[in-house]
């Protein structure tokens, strides 16, 4: 299987004052395979989200290299990065981050309209189809202030999917949701992954990580360990075992 992301010696430093710098990512080396479902775990401040934003080109790394689908994103211009994000990436955030002045369906349609690859009718049909798939078709015309956390996060997922991305990045997508909503969102993401879309999540939640097939563990800006698991299958009913094995692995890594 080919790699969708290849990061080598990637670092990220930010200035804290005139002469002080803080290293958030140090010497990151990472390969993500196309169609993989992986998660990143670690204590707060370990650099999990920063890793996500830097390998996706949303933030600019300080040094090193990140190749996305073979292209070095560090050397790309803002315009090219935007084009890549629009056409091949989807993002899901913990805070959902919907555009306030748009209805839920317009939020979903927005990236597709910006890409302008299809006509409005096709885009609208696709948005409706995605809403139906995620069970939120009834609130299509609501605004971003009208809806539960779970419902709005599904809108976020639909928006991430509208342009058929190759990869979906999730920055704690279930962080603000209750366990039922978390379960539903993870099922949707698993279904998406089954279609061949790569999914990479940052999470604190062992239950979420248990649904992925590889877990990276970060401390102080470095990937210190990783755990591979076989692909999750709800029918096998081994959820508890997977969670316990992750807990044990985490403790071994000092969490």
């Amino acid at each position: 299987m080919t790699n969708i992301i290849e990061a080598s010696s990637m670092t990220k430093r930010v200035a804290l004052g005139k002469n002080t710098e803080l290293s958030i990512l140090r010497d990151i080396n990472l390969k993500v395979k196309k169609g993989e479902f992986l998660s990143v775990m670690g204590p707060s401040g370990s650099g999990k989200s920063t890793l996500l934003y830097n390998i996706s080109g949303m933030d600019r790394m300080t040094s090193g290299s990140v190749k996305y689908q073979g292209r070095e994103i560090g050397s790309l211009k803002e315009e090219d990065l935007a084009k890549i994000r629009l056409g091949t990436m989807g993002f899901i955030f913990q805070d959902i981050n919907l555009l306030k002045n748009l209805s839920l369906i317009d939020n979903i349609m927005f990236p597709a309209l910006a890409a302008a690859d299809a006509n409005k009718h096709t885009i609208s049909q696709k948005a409706k189809q995605l809403m139906k798939m995620t069970g939120i078709e009834k609130i299509a015309d609501h605004t971003s202030t009208q809806g539960s956390g779970g419902q709005l996060q599904r809108v976020g997922i639909c928006r991430a999917l509208i342009n058929n991305p190759d990869i979906i990045f999730g920055d704690e997508p279930t962080g603000a949701l209750d366990s039922k909503a978390t379960e539903e969102i993870m099922s949707i993401l698993a279904e998406i992954n089954k279609t061949g879309t790569t999914v990479m999540l940052v999470t604190h939640d062992v239950k979420v990580a248990a649904k992925t097939e590889r877990i990276l563990f970060m401390i102080d800006g470095k990937i210190v360990s990783q755990k591979k698991m076989r692909k999750y299958d709800a029918r096998q009913d081994d959820r508890k075992e997977r969670e316990e094995s992750i807990m044990k692995w985490l403790m071994e890594n000092g969490l």
């Binding site: 935007a82 994000r85 056409g87 002045n101 927005f110 309209l113 605004t143």
Partner: protein, 784 residues
């Protein structure tokens, strides 16, 4: 603690603070310099008047003259008249005065005369406002001509008239209270007594008399005028009251000062609107802090003090700096006054009066801030702390869905729908763009109107190619007849119409008789625009100038009757129309030929002419000018330009100033507005970027929205400048005799040049602002 908070806020909102500071400073500079100018204009006028001692009544007369009769009249009316003096003018035609090697003054519309100083009053002064004392062989030249022909002290002029020829060296500029203004049609050159005597001896010029009266304190000018007329004393020229000279002298400076005060007021409004925007944005941002402070028990007064202190500090600083800078700005606008009225601008009173501007601006800003800050009173602690929950519970109807967009690109549509969604926010920008357009287009319209041949209609003249004036010489009646004979046989002339202006006695409402200059002729040949009614077409009809028809004149409306004494008998005429006229102090009248010429007091003859197609005006003018030495032949365009020259020049400065100020305002306010809008929308911009929109696409959204606001602002501003501006200018001009000014619109300037300049300035500002507002790392915003 408050000072520390003010300091922190100033540092935090540098751009906003600087913008508001610039506006307040600009407003203070303009208002202070305008007040300064008005104060020193009044002061200068009064000093000028003190030194020049102008006549209270001046009668112009050419032809037979008996001083003994005037002396007798003076003695008879000693209760009113303090001193009488007659100045004898030697009128020389402009073509007889040579400047340098080849140029003459032939083109001027002014009557030129050579005089010596009076002995008792109506003194002509030098540039230091000292009485002129010209030495033999030298001449003092009116400032008007010094400017017109770029003459300098030490240059020479040569007078060649008949057998007379003499070269004079210019020794001084002549500041002439009575005839300074371009609106006065005569100018006096001052020479030495012996040169004057020689000129007189050689009969170089046509003689004209200025019979001047200085009245006692409390002397009744109207009574003296009436008595003078009734006594049948010489008066075949106009009788002019002293106050008209004062008005003419002050007019152009006053108009400019008033325009500047108006612009300054607009700037104060803009500064206030910016502060309002800043306050609303800051209060929105700080709403939680306000809640915390209220919950901590800090009084509303205390909270408001935090916000208010900053603008108090800014207003005081801007007031002081603006006031000090106004000392420099004041000289940019008073060039005309320094030249024509007073060079010496010393005196502390002006500086003291100019202090009104910063104090007024400070009070206005603080009062306005207090008003806006009333919003803080309305916020309860709980409401402030839970503002996000309150926001969530609001139900709004969804409008402008993306699916409904059929024609526009996504970014243009997003920009435009944002105006609809947040119109309250854009309202400020909208008002400011209207004001900016107004500031640009109003002076442009005024300039174009003053510069246009159409302006002649406000001078009581119909549209025509050229006109010939015959004034104040014994030969004019004969010349008038010969001229008409010649016109009949001149194929180059398409049409012409002769007009005769004489002085008549007119009965006022209180039964007293007063002088009125009435022009008779056929007014259908060169029709004049009438405010009301029409021109006199039949026997027994008259039309009045606006100032004459006004309450302080004859107080007549169309259809009213006017009693005029003509040919020794009273005639009752019906008023058929009212027209605008800013010449001759605004008081003129036009009657049907049947009224008859008042032979004893013909003032002047005018012939209006239109030339046949293809005839060169200049050549024709030269021909008639040479053939009739007593005539003044003018191209109508030049006539208005020369008369209004000073105002046009000053308007040029106002136009350039207006455009500069409007562009600065548009750029600063757009930058300030976008800075706040972008700060407010920071997270929304980051979301759009995260889904893949480029910075350029996002800039297009703001560009589409802001430019649409600008476009509508320009349209409304231009309409306001065209219609409201006309109303304002008409109000201002009504005291001069024109109450309904119709602007001459130069379409490409109003609807193309001005909008393009504003659009370019604003468009560039939007691009720069959007670029400056973006941070490289998106996550910082998305995760905050």
């Amino acid at each position: 603690m408050f000072l520390k908070m003010v300091k922190n806020d100033l540092v935090r909102n540098k751009i906003v603070t600087v913008t508001v500071f610039v506006f307040i400073t600009m407003a203070v500079i303009l208002a202070a310099s305008a007040i300064h100018n008005i104060a020193s204009l009044i002061q200068g006028m009064s000093k000028f008047q003190e030194s020049a001692e102008p006549a209270d009544i001046t009668v112009m007369h050419a032809g037979e003259f008996d001083q003994a009769k005037i002396d007798q009249f003076t003695e008879q009316y000693r209760e009113h008249i303090a001193v009488q003096e007659t100045m004898v003018l030697q009128n020389i035609d402009g073509s007889d005065i040579q400047i340098g090697q080849h140029q003459t003054m032939a083109e001027t519309i002014q009557d030129i005369s050579f005089v010596v100083q009076n002995k008792n009053f109506d003194f002509i002064l030098d540039i230091n406002n000292e009485r002129l004392d010209v030495k033999e062989g030298y001449v003092a030249v009116p400032i008007y001509f010094m400017e017109q022909y770029d003459l300098h002290i030490g240059d020479s002029i040569t007078v060649k008239s008949g057998w007379y020829e003499k070269m004079f060296v210019i020794s001084d500029y002549a500041r002439d209270y009575e005839m300074n203004s371009p609106l006065t049609s005569s100018k006096r050159f001052v020479i030495n007594q012996s040169d004057y005597n020689q000129m007189l001896k050689m009969q170089a010029g046509e003689l004209e008399y200025l019979i001047e009266f200085k009245l006692n304190e409390g002397g009744d000018a109207a009574a003296v005028q009436t008595a003078y007329n009734e006594a049948g004393l010489p008066a075949n020229g106009p009788i002019i009251e002293g106050k008209i000279f004062t008005m003419f002298n002050a007019m152009s400076d006053m108009v400019v000062a008033l325009v500047i005060i108006f612009i300054s007021m607009l700037l104060i409004v803009i500064a206030a609107l910016c502060i309002r925007l800043t306050f609303l944005a800051t209060i929105d941002e700080d709403i939680k802090e306000i809640g915390v402070m209220k919950a901590m028990g800090i009084s509303q007064k205390g909270i408001k003090k935090i916000y208010l202190s900053k603008y108090k500090v800014v207003s005081i600083a801007a007031g002081i700096i603006g006031y000090l800078l106004s000392f420099a700005a004041v000289n940019l606008l008073n060039g005309n006054r320094r030249l024509y009225i007073a060079s010496d601008l010393s005196g502390n009173l002006n500086y003291l009066l100019a202090l009104i501007a910063p104090i007024f601006v400070y009070v206005m800003i603080v009062l306005y801030c207090n008003r806006v800050l009333k919003r803080v009173d309305k916020i309860s602690a709980v409401e402030a702390l839970r503002s996000d929950i309150m926001e969530r519970s609001k139900k709004r109807k969804y409008s402008f869905p993306l699916q409904k967009n059929k024609f526009l690109s996504l970014n243009s549509y997003m920009g435009l729908r944002d105006i609809g969604k947040r119109f309250k926010l854009y309202r400020l920008l909208f008002v400011i763009y209207i004001v900016c357009t107004f500031i640009v287009i109003l002076p442009v319209n005024m300039y174009n109107t003053l510069n246009s041949p159409e302006f002649s209609s406000y001078m009581g003249i119909g549209k025509q190619d050229m006109r010939i004036d015959l004034r104040r010489t014994d030969r004019i009646t004969d010349d008038f007849i010969t001229l008409q004979e010649e016109f009949k046989n001149d194929n180059d002339i398409e049409k012409y119409a002769p007009y005769i202006t004489s002085s008549y006695q007119v009965k006022h409402a209180d039964g007293t008789w007063h002088n009125l200059n009435i022009e008779i002729g056929d007014f259908s040949v060169f029709p004049l625009k009438f405010l009301e009614g029409r021109a006199p077409e039949e026997e027994g009809e008259i039309s009045l100038s606006l100032a004459n028809a006004a309450e302080d004149g004859l107080n007549k409306k169309v259809g009213d009757k006017v009693t005029v004494e003509a040919g020794g008998k009273e005639q009752t005429l019906t008023v058929t129309g009212i027209y605008q006229d800013i010449t001759n102090g605004g008081k003129t009248a036009k009657a049907h030929t049947s009224l008859g010429v008042n032979e004893a007091s013909v003032l002047w003859y005018i012939v209006s002419i239109n030339l046949a197609e293809g005839v060169a005006i200049r050549e024709k003018m030269n021909y008639y000018q040479n053939a009739y030495s007593t005539a003044q032949v003018n191209n109508i365009e030049e006539y208005t330009k020369q008369t209004l020259g000073t105002i046009i020049d000053q308007m040029e400065i106002v136009v350039i100033g207006g455009i500069s100020i409007a562009i600065i305002i548009a750029i600063l306010v757009t930058a300030l507005f976008l800075r706040m809008l972008l700060a407010k929308d920071m997270s929304q911009i980051a979301i759009m970027r995260s889904v893949g929109l480029t910075l350029r696409q996002i800039s297009y959204q703001y560009m589409a929205g802001t430019l649409m606001v600008l476009l509508v602002g320009i349209i409304l501003g231009a309409l306001a400048a065209n219609f409201l501006g006309e109303l304002l200018v008409s109000m201002g001009m009504s005291s001069m005799g024109a109450s309904k000014i119709e602007f001459v619109h130069v379409i490409w300037q109003t609807w193309l040049l001005c909008p393009v300049v504003l659009l370019a300035a604003v468009g560039l500002t939007i691009l720069m602002s959007c670029k400056a507002a973006v941070k490289d790392d998106l996550s910082a915003v998305l995760r905050s």
